[in-house]
Amino acid sequence: MNVTVRPAGDRGALLELPDNAAAVRAAGLLREERPELVDVVVGHTTVLVTWGAEAPDLGAIAERALAGDAEPAGRSIEIPVTYDGLDLAEVARLTGLSQEEVVTRHTSAEHVAAFLGFQPGFAYLTGGDERLHVPRRDVPRTQVPGGTVAIAGPYSGVYPRDSPGGWRLLGSTTAVMFDPAGEPPALIAPGDRVRFVAA
């Protein structure tokens, strides 16, 4: 296993790592040891870095990320959910489970935040129950309310604010996913472990 560094324009590079945990570790090391970097963005199994003036040496740090602990030191976060989502019945039908069983499986899993994107504070949560892997809606909704808890493919997520969305809606939370004045502004960071709790 090694790290591939791909070009990403004249002021960036994309590091390909074997898995998400290595990507989270590499991002942590890069942020600590290369403060001159502008952005350090974790993807599913990648880290995108950008710089202002001079290209930094990245390979050595990425290699060290491979030698690190198996699990990154993420925080544990609980998100209270009222399971009354518009698609709960549809998800039950698609999975062949009862609605109660859908909720039980969604609340039993320990999810891991793989990466952020789509909207500020929107974390793509992996590690959910495989029986709940359902496809996105064919036609996305034009408006999904902020605080909606949803699933699609291998992911769970919480819409931080009102936005269009094609995921299947399971319920809603009062947790604030993104607060520009917060420190840090995003509730969830890559590597965090997330449990949904029926409210």
Partner: protein
């Protein structure tokens, strides 16, 4: 208090500064002036410190009423129609689509995450200008200047702009014919382009790989290719991660030119480095 009243907002006028770089890991787009060269020049002309917020007008400019004589500069796209009797009336943009209205003292709206920029993707920052809005002008710290209006053409947008790109990070996901097409075609700028991305119309860029790419980080200037094969050049309000492969990325020196591309204009790409 020194302020500006929005008599008419124009087609789309937003507040912009240098945006929110360094927050992509939170899912926060970079935002900021789409033609940073013109924006920086405007601030210099009015004696503002770098990074002071300005107005970015798109295609057709606003009508603004200033309550006191004020020093301003118009940069970026030019216009044949500027009137300054009682109000500043900026007409249709020519030679580009974005004009910067820099006001001495800067536009003093509340910053969000260190920037006053409007982000059209996520709604961060002030919403686009609307009729009746009142914008405060910031505190002037430099030496006194006479009130005047200057129109300064910056770099001229060529009739057939060429943007320099570096291939990757996912050029291997495309056929050799697709790479050739990217760099030989005269791409047409779609009218559905905006600050999130410039949609390009031309031949479909064919993939050599058909599996799904796992989502990864994106930069401004990235040319991503969705399933349709019609590329999208990501602009400053782009999402921070995405799952469409990026075939090439426009040089940062050429992003200002991308920010001035007009609907139906033709653009070419050339590999550089």
């Amino acid at each position: 208090m020194t302020q500006i009243e929005v008599v008419r907002p124009g087609l789309l006028t937003t507040v912009q500064d240098r945006g929110r770089p360094g927050l992509a890991h939170l899912g926060v787009p970079p935002s900021g002036a789409a033609d940073a060269t013109a924006y920086d020049l405007g601030n210099r002309l009015v004696g503002n410190p770098p990074g002071a917020a300005a107005l970015e007008a798109t295609m057709a400019g606003p009508v603004l009423r200033f309550d006191v004589p004020t020093t301003i500069a118009l940069t970026g796209a030019t216009t044949a129609e500027v009137r300054t009797v009682e109000v500043l009336e900026v007409g249709r943009c020519v030679g580009g689509v974005r004009m910067y209205i820099c006001v001495r003292g800067g536009i003093d709206v509340e910053p969000t995450l260190g920037s006053r920029s409007t982000d059209l993707l996520t709604g961060l920052g002030p919403r686009p200008l609307q009729t009746g809005d009142v914008l405060r002008i910031g505190v002037d710290t430099g030496p006194e200047r006479a009130a005047h209006v200057g129109t300064v053409p910056t770099r001229v947008v060529p009739d057939e702009p060429v943007l320099r790109v570096r291939l990757g990070p996912r050029d291997e996901w495309f056929t050799a014919a697709a790479i050739d097409a990217l760099c030989s075609e005269r791409w047409s700028v779609s009218s559905s382009s905006n600050r999130v991305g410039i949609r390009l119309e031309g031949p479909s860029l064919e993939r050599a790989r058909h599996d799904e790419l796992l989502s990864e980080g994106l930069v401004t200037g990235a040319i991503q290719v969705p399933a349709s094969g019609q590329p999208i050049l990501l602009m400053h309000d782009h999402p921070t991660t995405g799952g469409y492969p990026v075939i090439a990325i426009v040089r940062s020196d050429d992003l200002w030119l991308a920010g001035q591309l007009a609907p139906r204009q033709r653009v070419r790409f050339v590999i550089d480095g």
